[in-house]
Structures are given as C-alpha cells and as structure tokens.
C-alpha cells in the first residue's frame, strides 16, 4: 500500500514562479524517505500542498489511496506535519500547544494529556511542559513541533528540515527518535540540507531540483551511481613524491595526507597493494566528503541543469548515469 502518492503535481505561484513542474512520487507504507534538493527546488511547496497549506494548480496527492481534496478529513487524520518555520503561539505553554493540537483532531483532554506526557517525555521535554514556548531554544521549538505532530498518532509523518540550526547533540537524539518512530511503523518523509542526516536515517531518496524529481530510488541504488569516490589517507611517514602509478589518480595535500580517487570498477585492495609496494604506510582512511553529498552536488551541477533543460530528460538521464 502506498502511504503517499503524488501524481503530476504542478504549482505556479502568483508571481509566476513555477515551483513544481509535474512531480511524481510514491512512498510505501513504513518507508523513510528523504526529499533532497537545493533551496527553491520545490521541497517545501510539495510539503505545503500535502499539508493543505499551499494550493496546487494540477495533479493529485493521495494518502493511503484517498485524495486529499476529496477526503480532507480522512487524509488529514493520517498526516503529521512538522513545518520548517515555527508555527505555534509564542505565548502559550508547551503542554497547551500539544494538547490543543490534539483537540483539533477531536481527541479528548484525558487522552491528549496522556499522549502529551508520552511524546514530550520521549523527546526529553516533559520537564519543560509548563514553559512558555517563546522561551525555548531553536532546537527545543523544533522538538515541540515534532511532539505536536505526533499527538494524533499519524501513520505518515512529514518533516520539513526538522534539525536545521539544531546543535549536534539535539540533532543526534532527534535522529534516534525518528528512527524509533519509523521502526514502530510510521512512514516518514523528511527534507533536509544535511545529507549526512539523509544517509544515516533514510531508506529511500528523492532528489528534487527546479520543480522536478531528478532522482528517486533506494539509498543503496542511488549511492551505487556514484562513479568515483575520493578517499583521504593519513600517512604514517611524510611523503615527498607520489608513487609512480597510472592506475589511481593521487595527489598530496601535505606530506602526511594523500587524496586518491577510486572508480566504481576499481577496488580498495588494489589501491593498498599499490601503496604497500611503494612502502607507504596508511594510518587511517576516510571519505573526503559524504558520499550522498558528492552525488548530490554532481547531480545538480551545470551539466545536469543543461541536459535537463535544453536536451530533454533522456539525455539528462544518460548524463546522470555517467556520473
């Protein structure tokens, strides 16, 4: 069963900006999908339409097979939305904010208070329940929005950059919470600029750019498209000259640090054999950048934009495959 199904979704704002140019997306029940894209790509517009906060020009959005326009009450009951911007009253207590939200879903006060305790505790906010919301830090405000979105126990949770501007500790604990929520059966769709976050949390990825989905698939399949990975090697002894090999593209950033590009049809064993034969001892090794980040940047580079816009989708796909 598809938890979320988007078909030919288009949106043009009043100022003429075409935010979505007919996107298609299907999310299976229980999935954890990252919707990635640069600023202005159409991520928030997509979420806004799903949340009924943005009107669409054409296309459809279905939640568990029901269209959000023809079955608003049923579909809204299944959705939990965590927006990018703070959108709760800054003059109310945390507890009132979440309990009132439950009220909008028709949940009585007794159940609402029990659930508020459950979710605020799980997010480490129960001790702050009587604080006025404006006094919370940015990270806690985002957590409050997550608790609020879960009070009616939705089957699909949609989060628009839930950890933007949040410190590392809070971000990691939020990841843990989201993983746990997904493991309990909640389908999660997440947008983020932290590609490390997407790689660590999500099973699937959709990359959106200029209002089009340019890549969609499982994390494994998408990362497999990364043709070249760059590794950074920390050397045990200073190196004055690079080994003489045509097999690998190597460069020294300083006498103790070497960068090596490894293609998909090469392997790390061959690299280490080359290094060993040249008596180079490697202390440690790491990816130069997050793999998803590398792929993301390559996908959205100028050639990608050129191929997609000027030469059509097929040529663009060929270009993507060659990355």
């Amino acid at each position: 069963m598809k938890a979320l199904e988007i078909t030919r979704l288009e949106k043009t704002y009043k100022n003429g900006f075409q935010a979505l140019k007919g996107i298609d997306l299907a999310v299976d029940e229980g999935d954890f999908l990252a919707l990635l894209g640069p600023n202005g790509a159409g991520k928030s517009t997509t979420i806004g339409i799903i949340a009924s906060l943005v009107t669409r020009n054409s296309g459809s959005v279905k939640i568990f097979g029901l269209d959000i326009e023809t079955h608003p009450a049923e579909t809204k009951s299944q959705l939990g939305i965590v927006p990018q911007e703070v959108n709760f009253s800054l003059f109310e207590t945390c507890l009132n904010i979440v309990v009132n939200q439950a009220g909008y879903y028709g949940i009585n006060k007794k159940v609402a208070y029990d659930r508020a305790e459950k979710y605020l505790s799980r997010l480490g906010m129960w001790d702050r329940r009587n604080d006025i919301s404006r006094n919370l830090s940015g990270g806690l405000k985002r957590r409050l929005m997550i608790a609020r979105a879960l009070l009616h126990e939705p089957k699909v949770l949609i989060l628009d950059e839930p950890t933007a501007g949040v410190d590392v500790e809070l971000r990691r604990s939020t990841w843990g919470f989201l993983k746990e929520t997904n493991a309990r059966g909640t389908t999660i769709v997440l947008t983020t600029h932290y590609l490390e976050e997407a790689e660590s949390l999500c099973k699937k990825i959709a990359i959106i750019d200029k209002g089009l989905i340019v890549e969609y698939g499982s994390m494994k399949d998408i990362l497999a498209k990364l043709y070249t990975e760059t590794f950074v090697l920390d050397l045990a002894n200073p190196l004055g000259k690079l080994p003489d090999t045509a097999e690998f593209n190597m460069r020294l950033t300083d006498p103790l640090t070497m960068e090596v590009d490894v293609n998909r049809d090469q392997n790390a064993n061959a690299l280490f054999e080359t290094l060993s034969s040249n008596r180079i001892i490697v202390r440690s090794m790491r990816n130069k950048s997050n793999r998803l980040e590398e792929l993301f940047i390559r996908l959205l580079d100028q050639s990608g934009v050129y191929y997609r816009q000027e030469r059509g989708k097929d040529d663009y796909q060929k270009a993507v495959n060659s990355i």
Partner: protein, 258 residues
C-alpha cells in the same frame, strides 16, 4: 469527523479564544469599563441634564443602551480581528488548517470567541451603567438577548473578514478607526434621528448600526426610531451575507494559503 470529535475541536477553538482574551483582561475587559464610565460621566452626568429628556427618558437613560451596544460591537469586532490576524501573523492558524477541522467549524469557533467577549464586556458596561442611571424593568428581554447575540455575531464576522484581508497590523486598525467608529457615532447612540433634518434621517437609514442600536434600545426602553422587524431583517441579512463570504474566503484560502 464524528459529531463528538467536531464538538471537541469546536470546544478547543473556543477555549483557546476565551483563554486568550481572559489572560490579557487588562487590555480586553478593563478599557471598555473605563471609557464607558467616562462617557456616562461626561455625556450623562455633565451634559445630559442640560439636554433634558429624549424619547420620554432622561438623556442618561436614552444613551445607556447605545453605549452598551457600542462596547459590544467594538469588542466583538476587535477580538476576532486581532485573534485571527495574530494567528495568521504567527502562523499558528496552520495548526487548524492541517487538522481535519472543517472551515465552518473554524469560523464558528472564532465567532463564538468574539461573541463571548462582546457579551462579557456588554455585561460589565451594563453594571457600570447601573451606577449612573436607573434602567427600568427591561421592556422585552427576548429582543435584548437576541439583538445582543446577533449584533455580536455580525461584528465578529466583520472582524474575521478584516483579519483575512489584513496584511499588517495597520490594516486591522484602519477599518475600526475609519469605518466602524464613524458608523457607531452616527448610528443613533447619542441621539434620536428624529432630531436630524429629513435628508440626514434618510441617509442615517443606510447605516446598519442604527438598526442594532435602536433594536436594543427598544428591547430595554420600548422606544425606537425604526421598525423592529426591519432591524432584525437587516441584521440577519448581513449575518447571512458575511457568513457566506467568510466561508468562501476560507475555502479559497485567501490570506491563509499560498
């Protein structure tokens, strides 16, 4: 949503509205009591005795219903316009829009909040009035109650529409200052339109507030410049038109959706 769930959602909106204006009672409930006291002192005690009787009543008795109605109109309007615009401005209106609350329920919740504040302020001002004048046994309690509630509903709706179109805080004060206040002052609060030249009497009949003030005055004192049936028809007509327009705006997402 089941009826029970709808009722819970409605109670949530209303309770949030009540909490909001009761929490800031110094800004919402106290000022009308103070300003209406000043009206009674200046117009009733100081100037009133020089004017003499109006419609067979002392001037103080004559203006009391108008002043009560003026405070109900102002407070119903300002409660909804400030609350709904605030919800838009802080974006917490989205809490309701993403939930399965139907538009008519959102409207009903805000209107109920406006009516509640209008009634509470009306009661406070009535108590203040009783310190200055003796209001006889109410002529027709049914008319008094229905006019108060209907007028409060009407101006809550007007406040809601203003809040939907407002783009900044100036926009929520322009209508009360430049439209509502002149209409109230020219709506027979302080005088009977019989005192006006014929042409101005006719022009005054185009002021909807005249009908509300006179209907309320009729309910309390038993005197009115206009036919009570016409007054009710006008009030109900405005309520129907404004409710329909408000629902249309909510459905279109004007001011709340992009």
């Amino acid at each position: 949503m089941t009826t029970k769930k709808l009722l819970t959602a409605y109670k949530t909106i209303v309770s949030k509205e009540l909490t909001r204006f009761l929490r800031i009672w110094v800004q919402t409930l106290l000022p009308p009591a103070v300003s209406m006291t000043l009206y009674f002192i200046i117009f009733g005690n100081l100037i009133g005795p020089r004017i003499g009787t109006m419609g067979g009543f002392t001037y103080m008795q004559f203006i009391a219903p108008g002043i009560i109605m003026m405070s109900i109109i102002n407070n119903s309007y300002s409660n909804v316009v400030s609350s709904f615009f605030g919800a838009r401005f802080q974006r917490h209106v989205e809490e309701m829009l993403i939930a399965p609350v139907p538009n008519w329920m959102i409207l009903a919740g805000y209107i109920s909040g406006g009516v509640a504040r209008g009634l509470i302020v009306g009661l406070i001002v009535t108590v203040v009035a009783l310190f200055f004048t003796e209001l006889r046994i109410i002529h027709n309690p049914f008319i008094v109650c229905s006019v108060v509630i209907l007028t409060s509903v009407l101006f809550s709706l007007a406040g809601f529409i203003n809040a939907i179109f407002a783009k900044n805080f100036d926009d929520i004060s322009i209508i009360p200052t430049f439209v509502l206040t002149p209409l109230i002052y020219l709506g027979g609060v302080f005088y009977s339109i019989e005192l006006l030249p014929e042409i101005w009497q006719s022009i005054s009949l185009a002021n909807p507030i005249l009908y509300m003030v006179n209907a309320f005055r009729y309910g309390i004192l038993g005197v009115s410049d206009i036919d009570i049936h016409i007054a009710f028809t006008i009030i109900l007509l405005f309520i129907v038109i404004m409710s329909g327009f408000s629902l249309y705006l909510l459905h279109r997402g004007t001011g709340i959706k992009t």
